[in-house]
Amino acid sequence: MPLEPEARSRLLENTPTIASAHEAAAAQGDTAALSATASVDLHFVAFVKSAQNNLWELDGRRKGPLKRGQLTEEDDVLSDKAVQLGVKAFLKREEEAGGGDLRFSLLALAPSFD
């Protein structure tokens, strides 16, 4: 996309449809939504495969996207190789830094059932 990261973040902050969709989704479910200034525990990190078959780790709190390794044409992000280079490598780094038991969940964006 033509916009640089700073400008992209501004665009996201100023797009009312994204904000209202987010608010509406946050209000669903059983947990009360927190204000944006409250300190929350959960963080989300995405793993995707580029057209060049590289595995990238995307975390908005880092300095930029992180290339974690090369995959084959046939790999998707849940293949053995992708899991080793991505999620498992992440968990290993956490453990080595003294993290021990990391309570995590994993969501996969994949074809719907219906």
């Binding site: 640089e4 797009t15 994204i18 989300f44």
Partner: protein, 110 residues
């Protein structure tokens, strides 16, 4: 997460599925393939902050843009929006980005 991503314009042919295990093949088999993106969700911890700072210290701030960019990355500036960021990162990259409709808000971001 799934209804939010559909509201933002991602085709209903894609959805978020829970992955119950990374090691048990019978549980892994529950996830339809190919998987376009994986979202790791975890509580922020001191270890995460330490690892992040250590790895990031040698990196420059990302300034990429334009057609040569390999992936689309957003810096998180909105408080507590990391779920939204995860969602955008998942939807705007990899196999999912072809499945965004023409009109909706997600295309403004992607």
């Amino acid at each position: 997460m799934t209804s939010l991503v559909h509201k933002l314009g991602l085709s209903s042919t894609l959805a978020f599925h829970d992955v119950y295990s990374l090691d048990d093949p019978s549980l892994l088999a529950f996830v339809p393939r190919p998987v376009a993106a994986l979202l790791l969700v975890f509580p922020v911890s001191k270890t995460y902050e330490t690892t992040r700072e250590a790895e990031d210290s040698s990196l420059k701030d990302y300034a990429g843009s334009g057609a040569e960019e390999e992936v689309l990355w957003f810096r998180q500036t909105i408080g507590n929006a990391c779920g939204m960021m995860g969602l955008l990162h998942s939807a705007c990259n990899g196999g999912a980005k072809e499945q965004i409709g023409n009109d909706p808000p997600a295309t403004m971001a992607c």
